[in-house]
Symmetry: C2
Subunit: 396 residues, 2 copies
């Protein structure tokens, strides 16, 4: 199949590009390198020493004999989008070109507006250009489990059968997002579903859990590594815990640590997106996949990282909760359906403990790059006050 | 109370400004005159010969002795917003500064993006500036009943108690909007509720039905008239039917005419917004009012307009359904709660028939202004294809 990856330079984008190309798909993609620039903006860096895209594409050819195409562009540039769609004639478009950090979106007005503008308008541009130039293609769009929030009922996959005052209907499951970023994803969800309804576009909307992992099997050469962020904004929970463990910092789950979330390993996230791409929905169909493997409490996960770090890598570890900078329920019910991907054959690749061992090994290997930026691990952005002292020239 | 009206030059904005000032409130407002420019863009005009804001404010002083302040500015200009909030120190901010037309948003990519950008980012700017400079003020935000769509269950006011797989919760009622414009309102709803939750802002989010009417009691002088649109994009159903009847055109309900909607007269919409302003929610509270008086079928309404036009004004009338340019359910269940406003004392001012008689009188009075632009009454924008042949220079 011909697959176009929007946001191919990112954590998931590059991992997916390698995997799809290895499976024989014709891969093209673009990126505006915003992830590189926003991580630089907040003063941090990828733990893995990533190559620029030119070198990555070259290395993929040398190491695996893969051929990929890559261009620089943005979903906000609809003329560019149009040209890309006309030239690549995709069967599937994977939309990963969004600002993906909740804390980044909560810093201040400017970052909230940037996030919703980039994500919502970028997706709207993509939908309109698909209508004209890629009407039959599938849109695989990355959403987040965070769209649902933490309701006191089970979370179905996008829609639920409801009885209310004696009448029945199948309705979109209510969304209760927890940051300007998460709300931007909810807005996208509405827009994408509507485009499928009125224009007959087809889309898989992925509600993804928190992803963890440093590598996929295709990254056998260092030049092929994907990025790995550990800072307060772009580092996700498990990734940050592993980075903290590697440099002998206390692992810092927020609040009571009782908050539950769905998690999935990087390799399995790539497996799931591949399943969606290779099993497209029918014309006009809008379907939702909850993409997660297991549900854990955040504090419980920190303990698991600590155990593997201690027992398998001989690291000294400590878990030390800190005040929760977010506004979120600390203790809550959490039960999530993920049958759609299982129906397509999804099987987790390895256990959490096995994955943690690989990750911690990588974190130790690149610990000097974590140490260089370790001041960016602790949270400075709060949900109530944003980033304190933040102005055009940063804190005084 | 000190009330700031964002979008004071519009159909509702000007009517509300007059009413609030007459009740003794201190009224200030701003507008970027976008409604005047977009109606001119599509080639139409207000049926009522409206004055510019300078003359309106002057006339309000001469006729009623009212004092209002008005400035030119946009919610997209957050620096302007900040200055306005600092200077006006509002107790209530009424947010009417949005692009309000579904067909306009469906024309093409440019108009969809303009609508979501203006509405979503403008509201986001307002929320952030309120956090800094008007934290205690109430935000009265105009949404639309169209956010809910037409579910097969009763429509509560924003939230519902639901039981799902044996567990219970109170959740936001699912939104199923029917245009890019309506989705922009859904996006706003999420953003406003979230701001209340994390920052303690207070807001009344109004899900308003279709408004009809040409005037309020304060418009005793022609210079005080509010605008009245009858074109395909900015004219709402009843207003268009009255305009059609006045010039002897067949009234044109879409499709089967069986689609039901909630309606409210202009005077009663103003009454309801005033009730919300004068009875603010508590700190951190986000409440939803379904603002409508009665539910009618669209075809049924056309027949009612025809009857009043014939019997009270001696007009020759015809009702002639046309193909529905929208994608919407033609026959559906529709039952809507509107208890919150009743609890605050809302009482409809007059019957539909009485209101129609006043409206039709005005439409006959200004029929030459309808006739000048009558080619803009019939729909040219379809939900499936947008505005055909639309480009930067219009149709060839």
């Amino acid at each position: 199949m011909r697959v176009l990856i929007c946001g191919m330079d990112g954590y998931l984008g590059w991992s997916l590009a390698l995997h799809l190309a290895k499976r024989g798909h014709e891969v093209a993609g673009f990126d505006n390198f915003s992830r590189r620039s926003v991580v630089a903006e907040i003063g941090s860096q990828s733990m893995t020493p990533i190559q620029n895209m030119e070198n990555r594409v070259k290395a993929a050819k040398e190491v695996h004999g893969l051929k990929m195409r890559f261009g620089r562009g943005s979903t906000l540039d609809y003329g560019y989008l149009r040209d890309v769609l006309k030239e690549s004639k995709p069967d599937a478009i994977v939309h990963l070109a969004e600002q993906p950090s909740a804390p980044y979106s909560m810093m201040d007005r400017e970052h909230a507006v940037y996030t919703q503008q980039n994500n919502v308008i970028g997706t709207l541009n993509l939908l309109f250009e698909m209508r004209e130039y890629a009407r039959g293609a599938q849109l695989v769009k990355l959403g987040t489990m965070g769209e649902y929030g933490t309701p006191n009922v089970a979370i179905p996959e996008g829609f639920f059968d409801v009885e209310y005052r004696g009448r029945k209907d199948t309705l979109p499951f209510p969304r209760q997002a927890g940051s300007w970023y998460h709300w931007s994803k909810v807005h996208d969800t509405g827009n994408v579903a509507f485009a499928c309804k009125i224009w007959g576009l087809r889309s898989t909307d992925i509600m993804q859990g928190v992803v963890y992992g440093t590598r996929t099997p295709e990254m056998s050469d260092e030049r092929l590594l994907t990025r790995f962020d550990f800072d307060e904004a772009f580092g996700t929970a498990v990734n940050r815990f592993c980075a903290q463990a590697a440099i002998g910092y206390p692992m810092s789950p927020y609040g009571t640590g009782q908050m539950k979330r769905g998690f999935i390993a990087l390799v399995d996230s790539i497996q799931c997106m591949t399943l969606a791409i290779e099993h497209p929905p029918r014309e006009g169909e809008y379907r939702v996949f909850n993409q997660l493997d297991e549900v854990y409490g955040i504090g419980e996960l920190a303990q698991k990282v600590a155990k593997v770090a201690r027992e398998k890598l001989g690291l000294k570890t400590e878990v030390k909760g800190i005040e929760d900078p977010r506004i979120e329920m600390q203790e809550h019910f959490y039960s999530v359906d993920n049958q759609h991907l299982k129906d397509l054959g999804f099987k987790p690749t390895r256990s959490l403990e096995e994955e943690l061992e690989i990750m911690l090994g990588d974190c130790v290997r690149y610990k000097s790059r974590i140490e260089e930026k370790k001041e960016h691990i602790a949270p400075t952005v709060t949900w109530k006050e944003g980033k304190k002292g933040h102005g055009p020239l940063g804190p005084a």
